[in-house]
Amino acid sequence: MPVAASAIYFLNLRGDVLINRLYRDDVGGNMVDAFRVHIMQTKELGTCPVRQIGGCSFFYMRISNVYIVIVVSSNANVACAFKFVVEAVTLFKSYFGGAFDEDAIRNNFVLIYELLDEIMDFGYPQNLSPEILKLYITQEGVRSPFSSKAADKPVPNATLQVTGAVGWRREGLVYKKNEVFLDIVESVNLLMSSKGSVLRCDVTGKILMKCFLSGMPDLKLGLNDKIGLEKESQLKSRPAKSGKTIELDDVTFHQCVNLTRFNSEKTVSFVPPDGEFELMKYRITEGVNLPFRVLPTIKELGRTRMEVNVKVKSVFGAKMFALGVVVKIPVPKQTAKTSFQVTSGRAKYNPSIDCLVWKIRKFPGQTEPTLSAEIELISTITEKKSWTRPPIQMEFQVPMFTASGLRVRFLKVWEKSGYNTVEWVRYITKAGSYEIRC
């Protein structure tokens, strides 16, 4: 029962082939033409990321200005294929140093072919971990680490790592200064009705870690989540400390985390990979602290005038502040003239997205700036139907604030040499899809 990919293509938006790697010959060579004719040049594009053409199925994803297309001829595992594409892109990014777009691909196509050779064999995903691949596929690619001239290197050990037995970390790392950076990044998703009741609200968070640690350290992370704390107090047989605890709906971990220990002791313990990685992801639906409340009133005065009043209230601590706040207030297409008054920030009318865009660069806590605008509309005869109001959307970042209330209680590092480490923790909450109907 093969679930293997037959070919992978990278195309630009015009449909030119940037990369073309056939893994199996059970599909014809003209697959890319089929994709162009039946998907790219039709209205189909963007209607569904999985499409069947003839006996083949096409999975495609657009990443910046590139389409990545996987062709399969059998009943393949879709989730796996998309995850593979995402992981492969992460891998390429870590090689190119950031951007993944048409130019980057054109400049690095030999490297991409090299990588495609390693990460997939005959259509089956192999090893995609950048830490391991970077051991033997170097940017310059001049020498292989086991090339004959460096025969004194312990070859078997190195390849053992290549094939993933040791996994995510290699031995013998040395840093002068041992540092760990923890970033707790949350995004709040909100859907609020026009009457101000919360229809749907959740937080998806991730803990990003940057490790510069020597040797093979063992790390333990403590959070203020309910289950973990209860378990801890049970183990130490003393009552749980009072204070805010939160309930995580669901958690997923990087493969380095010892899941058995998480399930038995509810502690997050792991041997970290070197460098940057995503330690865990979580989701919370209960007890979310919304950083902003939006109170819109929109009045349609006759057929040609509208009055818009929007009050945005920051409900986090007065000492904190939000950055890059953008409020997008939709207005009808036939808007002719607008005039505003804002108590803070700047507003302007952006006709290309039919929105009033109100920007506040620095937004302190416990304040409530307002925007009031008058809008004049072009009167039309054909437009007899009333205007359907899209929701108000918000963007923001609030440093040192977590919408979930999650806090790192401790991060312990053990290493046999017993060095001291410096730990840095940052929190930030961003807007996911923050929508308020009006």
């Binding site: 493969q255 399930n263 989701r283």
Partner: protein
């Protein structure tokens, strides 16, 4: 491996046109081949890069093959890799040249650097040239025993590649046994995983040929092997874990203790960061507990949170893949998810394909406690600017109304939609109100009060118009204006393009007449006259039928057209539970996304006349959507829409099938005089009965079964075609070559039909209605080329047609080849008359 596609389009100015550059490259490479000067490698690298980039954009650079091979003697690993890539791409089509590479690849397979050994072995196995397999066996054998795990890992997949080139060589060399040994013994997890994937594929393919292979395949699912993998599961990387979990999901544990042991062991996999691993684990859990109802429920509860997390994280494409699975589970057990309905609320910016799935799930989980919230939310979407979204939302509201007992509030909402005065909203709502009335006739008073206010001029979509007309007919006695609205519609008979609407109009005016004769008489007369003159066969026949029926006896007409109706209690579910179970069996695969079992999209006979046939000239592909073909072949349940929309589809399909079933005799009828057409009508009730039982539109025709109809007269020498004929493209090509041309004709066709040629799908679809199937099509205006085939009913004799249409001169060239040459003239007439009816609807 096949070479990359030759670019069909003319290359853009920025791209090199090919020839000159390639020969330049050839020269330069030749000069470098022997050189040992310092810096040669860098120059070579640049040249190799150029070759590879030409190859990528589709320029044929196979002519530099020998130079590339000569230059490959280098210690630079990147150069080697580029060379391997090049060789892999072109070797298959230049087997002679491929022989040149064997030598250096074999040498590289013995290199002291394991990396080079591995790469060389991988390339050697990827050549894909059947005559060279003998050179593969040695290096592969050594590779499997190599001290380095990287080489073993490559060799394990290499065996599979060899199997695909030459199964017998692979089996004769006893590689499967070696792989099995390696799989159970190797220290390295990736080697083990690759052995497993290769063995699974080899034994599955081999199982049909040898019993031993079938046994070996079963042995993979034996307890010791499964436990061996489970115990090592944490050593595997995420992708290999998916493969192992897929294997485990097929294992049948002996008792419930074993099931619990396995689930406990795997539970932490649900927390894995890779969604594919989580889904594979879920599959194991679901399949293992199928027979234990209680535990199965608990599994649903347990997997809910991880699934919802996966949905909300990652790109839209990923969440679509997961949502499809969630959708499947929600459909199986909606009550478990009924409290999570808020997760299925749509975000404004989500792509439509995600929203659509969410709407279906919202519909499914609606129950007494959450219906109000869900319907309120759906009403928000109806006001959405996005028209398809608004339509889907209305349908969702309608579906909820049809499955709930307490419909009162929902009906009010639906009726409010009608007051929004947006054309698409009104249209969609009308269709729903009609269905609602069929199930809950008690609401007719509220509904028709509102429906009566809608001006028929504001309703343009055929489906909606038909629904409105149906209500006008059905509730003629309650709607004051009914006869007059119908009358005005009939006045515009000629402007009504949809046959479906005209059919409904006939029936509605008939119903109206039987209830309010004096007011409707004039309208009925006009409708029947227009109907009998109608060029559409079904409309013509129905009008004539009504006419004769009224002539014969009005009370019988009453009984047939206006029988007392029972409310529909349940609308037929389109997908049989058997098919749903098959999809569930194939959890975590494409089947779930397509919502049909894999045989429907992988087996050839289900895919229909759509193949990348290179031999049929440069024709592009018959672009028929697979769904249509499946439908034509009588496989129901191809449709993912439930209830309403499909009842619509079935209905129109019913018409279509009727059409094809009696079209052939009707040609005869036109020659033998009108007297026979009523006979035809009667004889048609048999094929249509299956389709019409649930569709209201033809309910009155059902009465046809009751009067003792005179047996259908045998129709002399009419050529009947098999509506479900199939042929596979290869067989078609073979036949085309074998048979002589039995008939060659030039004819002219109606320019209106030619106008419809702008849509290349229309003609094949039209012809299919006449049991003539398209196998391939292509061409560009003004010249189009089609290949058709048809099969005699109850005989295997087939007709093949090449049809070249020039749309500017309206000329058609026909070449017909037939098994039975004596009937080719009859077939040609049939074909031409079908073709002549091809006008845009």
């Amino acid at each position: 491996m096949a070479p990359p596609a030759q670019s069909q389009r003319s290359p853009s100015p920025s791209q090199p046109s090919g020839k000159g550059e390639v020969s330049d490259l050839k020269m330069q490479l030749r000069q470098l081949a022997g050189s040992r000067a310092p810096g040669t490698d860098d120059t070579k690298r640049e040249l190799f890069k150029k070759v590879i980039s030409y190859m990528t954009i589709g320029i044929d650079v196979s002519s530099v093959f020998s130079e590339m091979v000569m230059c490959s003697a280098t210690s630079d690993i990147v150069l080697k890799k580029m060379c391997y890539l090049y060789v892999g791409n072109y070797a298959k089509h230049n087997p002679d040249l491929a022989l040149l590479t064997i030598n250096f690849l074999q040498r590289d397979c013995k290199d002291e650097d394991p990396m080079i050994r591995g790469l060389a072995l991988r390339s050697l196995c990827s050549l894909g040239v059947a005559n060279l397999v003998e050179y593969l066996v040695g290096p592969l054998g050594n590779g499997l025993k190599d001290g380095n795990s990287y080489v073993r890992m490559v060799a394990a997949v290499g065996v599979l590649k060899l199997y695909h080139i030459s199964p017998s060589t692979c089996v004769d060399a006893d590689f499967p046994a070696l792989l099995k040994h390696l799989m159970l013994k190797d220290k390295d997890a990736q080697v083990v995983a690759n052995c497993l994937t290769s063995l699974q594929e080899i034994w599955t393919l081999e199982a049909s040929k040898s019993e031993e292979a079938a046994r070996e395949r079963e042995a993979l699912l034996s307890k010791p092997v499964i436990y061996y993998f489970l115990n090592r599961i944490k050593e595997f990387n995420e992708w290999a874990q998916c493969i192992v979990l897929e294997l485990v999901s097929k294992y049948v544990p002996s008792d419930s203790d074993e099931i619990f042991d396995i689930m406990n062991l795997l539970e932490d996999r649900l927390q894995h960061a890779n969604g594919a691993v989580v889904l594979s684990t879920i599959k194991v859990f679901l399949h293992m507990t199928l027979s234990m109802t209680d535990v199965h429920q608990q599994v649903y509860e347990r997997i809910k949170a991880p699934l919802l997390t996966l949905v909300s994280s990652g790109s839209p494409e990923q969440s679509y893949a997961v949502l499809s699975h969630l959708h499947l589970l929600v459909m199986r057990a909606p009550f478990i998810f009924s409290s999570d309905y808020k997760h299925f609320y749509c975000q404004y910016n989500e792509p439509f394909y995600v929203k659509k799935l969410k709407l279906e799930m919202l519909t499914a989980v609606a129950n007494e406690s959450n219906t109000y919230e869900i319907v309120t939310e759906l009403c928000e979407y109806v006001a959405n600017v996005d028209i398809p979204m608004a339509r889907e939302s209305i349908r969702a509201v309608g579906k909820i109304a049809l499955q709930q007992y307490d419909v009162n509030a929902i009906v009010d909402r639906l009726l409010q939609f009608l007051e929004m005065e947006k054309e698409h909203v009104t249209a969609e709502t009308l269709v729903l109100v009609k269905d609602l009335l069929r199930k809950y006739p008690q609401w007719s008073h509220d509904c028709i009060a509102v429906v009566g206010n809608i001006s028929s001029k504001n309703v343009q979509e055929p489906k909606a118009k038909a629904a409105l007309i149906w209500m006008l007919g059905e509730y003629a006695q309650d709607m004051q204006d009914s006869p007059y609205i119908l009358e005005s519609l009939i006045e515009n008979w000629d402007e009504e393009h949809s046959a479906e609407v005209r059919l409904h109009l006939l029936t509605a005016v008939m119903k109206c007449f039987l209830r309010r004769p004096p007011e409707t008489q004039k309208a009925l007369g006009a409708a029947l006259a227009a109907g009998i003159a109608d060029f559409h066969q079904d409309v013509h026949d129905r009008a004539l039928f009504y006419y004769r029926l009224l002539q014969y006896d009005v009370t019988v007409a009453e009984r047939i057209v206006n029988p007392p109706k029972q409310a529909v209690s349940v609308f037929a579910d389109t997908q049989s539970s058997e098919i749903k179970d098959r999809i569930f069996d194939e959890f975590n695969s494409l089947s779930v996304v397509y919502q049909k079992p894999s045989y429907m999209f992988t087996d050839k006979e289900y895919r229909g006349p759509f193949a990348f046939s290179e031999e049929l000239g440069n024709l592009s592909i018959g672009t028929e959507p697979a769904d249509n073909v499946v439908a034509a072949q009588g496989v129901e349940a191809n449709d993912k829409d439930l209830l309403l929309s499909t009842s619509e589809k079935e209905e129109s399909q019913g018409y279509g099938n009727n059409g094809s079933a009696y079209n052939a005799p009707s040609y005869n009828a036109s020659t033998t005089g009108a007297s026979q057409s009523s006979l035809d009508l009667v004889s048609l009730d048999q094929p249509s009965a299956v389709h019409t039982t649930t569709s209201f539109a033809i309910d009155e025709l059902l009465g046809l079964g009751m009067p003792a109809a005179p047996g259908p007269a045998p129709l002399p020498s009419a050529l009947l075609l098999n509506a479900k004929a199939t042929i596979d493209p290869n067989a078609f090509q073979q036949k085309w070559r074998q048979l002589p041309v039995s008939l060659s004709q030039d004819i002219s066709i109606d320019p209106r039909g030619v106008a419809a040629m702008t849509n290349p799908q229309a003609l094949p679809q039209h012809m299919q209605g006449h049991s003539i199937h398209c196998i391939a099509s292509g061409g560009q205006a003004p010249n189009f080329k089609f290949f058709f085939f048809a099969q005699k009913a109850e005989e295997s004799s087939v007709y093949l047609v090449e049809c070249i249409i020039n749309s500017s001169s309206c000329k058609v060239q026909l070449k017909i080849k037939a098994d039975d040459q004596s009937t080719s003239q009859a077939f040609s007439e049939l074909f031409q008359s079908a073709l002549s009816k091809f006008v845009l609807p």
